[in-house]
Amino acid sequence: MQPLTLWRVLARCGILAVILFVVVVVALKFGAVQVSLWGLGRDLISVILHRTSAISTDYGMIVIDIRLPRILLAIFVGAALSVAGTSFQALLRNPLADPYVLGVSSGAALGAVLALIVEPHIALPPAVTALLTPLGAFLGAAATIASVYVLGRREGLLDTNTLLLAGIITASFLSAIIIFLMTTLVSRDLHGMQFWLMGDLSIALQRNLRWILGVTFAIAAAAIYTTAGDLNLLLSGEKEAMHLGVDVPRVRLVVYIAASVLTGLAVSVSGAIGYIGLLVPHVMRWIFGSDHRILIPTAAFGGAIALVIADTLARTVVAPAEIPVGAMTALAGAPLFIYLLRKRLA
């Protein structure tokens, strides 16, 4: 492993940041409504200068009020899923691990369904009502994180295999409850249900919610990054890491909680979008190696790039209709994964 320098991290992240910027500009340009690059640039500068009055056209409003927030959401969700996937793959030392392997997405979906069920029966101000489903999803995710943590312990400490099995069983149990609710209680909100199973970025979030998401993401990602060096040592084995002075139980706990929170946040606002958290970490590992001090930030950029591209396709290929972005990532992700796998073996 090459010695880490700040330069190596910044150079790689810089390249990815440039790619992300280009992708975002392309994503802003394309959509159901055509806009010119010139008009786009002018409007963006107006927004940056807080001269919103200068944006007079409907088209500017479409780009600024609909397209840009959605792209920012895609960046956030893509980065969160990708970092969570990288962390789970290292924590569980399992290349098949993705952000949903420990049941967080099932818990979030169940929370969202329960929120949809109770919503008409409780009187709340409209601002709270709009938040109820994401909140339900996040509470469902949090409850799942807590119960998998309790079930995944062995003699008081997190154990990799026990955690994995506890997570998988919890996920399948929660899915069974969802199916049960769908066939008995829930009668009409089933399209909302499909949204949680499939993943979709078209929901509009209120401004305050975006700040909460951004800050929590930064805290959780930073917490994971503090363990990056320890995760490298963990790859060589838990005993070895412990002999080299790694506080393995603490690393496990930090990574488990932070990665689960990232997943829970992402699922609460977008449903369970597949493949980003599985595929992007592998691609980044093949390109940049498995040093987590580089892998974690590059995976964040890679996930953001991948999801912005996928969502742009989801918005444009059948415009003015849309397809759920989860269908798009699965459609493109599975063949790409197979291709990369065979190429690496060859």
Binding site: A32, D58, L124, A130, I179, P320, E322
Partner: protein
Amino acid sequence: MFSTGSPSRAQTQSHAATPATAATAAQIAPKSETREVIDETGRSIRIPQSIHRVVSLAPSITETLYALGLQDELVGDTDYCDYPPDAQHKPKVGGAINPSIEAIAALHPDLVLVTKALNRLDTVRALADLNIPSYATDPHTVAEILSSTQHLAELLGVPESGAAIVKDLQARLAGTQQRLASFPQRRVLFVVWPQPLISIGKKTFIADALFYAGATSIIDSSQDWPQVSLEEVVRQQPEFLVFAESHASEAPPGIDSLANLPGWRVLDAVKNRHYALVSDAVNRPALRIVSAIESLAKQLHPEAYPVARGAEKDNLTGYHGTVPPLSATALRLPQSFLSFMAPSAEALASTPEHACSL
């Protein structure tokens, strides 16, 4: 319930005209006392001459049977058949997508009524294996809802009452058309589900109902329930947003909160609260759609109803600025969305249209 086929055949035999042939009735009786009809999907089916026991597998068909005065012949319906309220007390056979074949067979129906857009072909096949005939309706327009009602009336032996009802409804539709004739069509967005935004395609009966109410959908999709880009809606700037209401059901973010959401708040219809709320009847291809059309026409074209305006203000002038609290405006999905109810992942993946190509 392994012998569910036998009771229904036995019952058919009991209608046999000549007891002398009872010994061989099993072979010849069904032919001698059945008739062949073509259903609305073009299938040829054999049904008994006279039909006394009917099971309905769609809320719209249950409504139609009640409207035709055939409620006594209706011996079973689905969990979602809630109109008229009396229909809730009929024996239930499960959901429309996943009915219990056993429960249907146990009711010994002469005929099961299904609708192509909602029920599954698997259900029809399973019933056919038990020698239970099923007749499928398939209305795609308001006119076809009326003609489909007439077909059912003829099929079930009450052609006169069918003709009378259809004639009355046609007169009401013509009256609405006449009132609206001099007013331009309103450009509207029918919101099936706000987040993600689902609207209606041009081939649905709802799009046709909007037309009768003096409105056209801004969405021109050949899919029945397209997921629509909010960008496209902002570009088109519909004059009204049309929601189907429900008093008891689950809702995504209520229409009150739309004004705070990015994208939605740019819509003129949201800024001006040009919302039209229409009874959930608009979601069912049944006769109440005519009342829904009239209510919608009054909300979208209040100027066409000058006299009624003062007298029935609350009902007629729409909901400009006086949107009821969320609990009263919870949204309801069209009947076809019930198909997402299916218990298996396989059924989940199939859209209503593909779920049943009879």
